[in-house]
Amino acid sequence: MGGDELLIRKAVAGDAAAFGLLVRQQQSKVRGFLRRLARGDAALADDLAQETFLEAWRKIGQYRREGSFGAWLCGIAWSRFLMELRRRKEEPVEDIGDTEGSDPRSAADARLDLEKAMARLAPVERAALTLCYALGHSHGDAAEILGLPLGTVKSHVLRGRERLRTMLETP
């Protein structure tokens, strides 16, 4: 039995300390994912991450060991993010985001360019691209996390990727 599996079993049995260790392992991934979804708003991302982990603790009995624990957490994080979007009634999930902003090529750092360009994508495209590339999940995992059909996720990835390419290439 792997260390993570043991920690998960203990957490499912109600061991808060084991859950604390899982939080320590996963916090960077979940907060990083949420920061990208929240277009770099670290305070909002951290609030959502806190809600994500507290919800995970309440629902840990429902965790099925089919996917990774990190993927399960990302699924909760995504639903928390969607709730926040609906609460704020801004930035529809499927629509492209704010198209104003600085020229993505003006920054020297390619990573900064990428973050700026990512911020201009629709939230669902940002999520799909981040899950499939930066976090290394399969399209199937991403579909499970986002609660979307596989084909829809694939098209979000393709469309988001092409939009990014255009933004990164346009002077």
């Binding site: 109600g14 939080v23 960077s28 990083g32 990573r111 976090l135 990164l168």
Partner: protein, 97 residues
């Protein structure tokens, strides 16, 4: 931009986010929530017991216990059952550790 360059850029791992007490805050919130939940459970159980206590046939239960208590205490089957319970509990404790 080539497909390869774009894929490389997209595949860069997300920047590490320093913990800075985040995990401790979550653990504190979880512990507080658990304490609150167990307080609520204790109070609800106590309240439920208080509500049904007047309706229990306590005198009859006492009489039955007086009659059957010595018989059960001297019963081999009960001794075996008690030993099995203790062993199961000890094993479960050790497995949890």
């Amino acid at each position: 931009m080539t497909d390869e360059a774009l894929d490389d850029l997209l595949s860069q791992p997300l920047a590490d986010v320093a913990d800075d007490g985040f995990s401790s805050r979550i653990l504190a919130a979880v512990t507080a929530a658990e304490a609150r939940r167990s307080r609520i459970t204790i109070w609800a159980t106590a309240l439920g017991a208080l509500c049904i206590a007047p309706f229990l046939p306590l005198r009859e239960i006492g009489a039955i216990m007086t009659r059957t208590g010595p018989v059960l205490a001297n019963s081999l089957a009960m001794s075996i059952a008690a030993a099995a319970l203790i062993l199961t509990f000890s094993l479960a404790q050790r497995l949890r550790e």
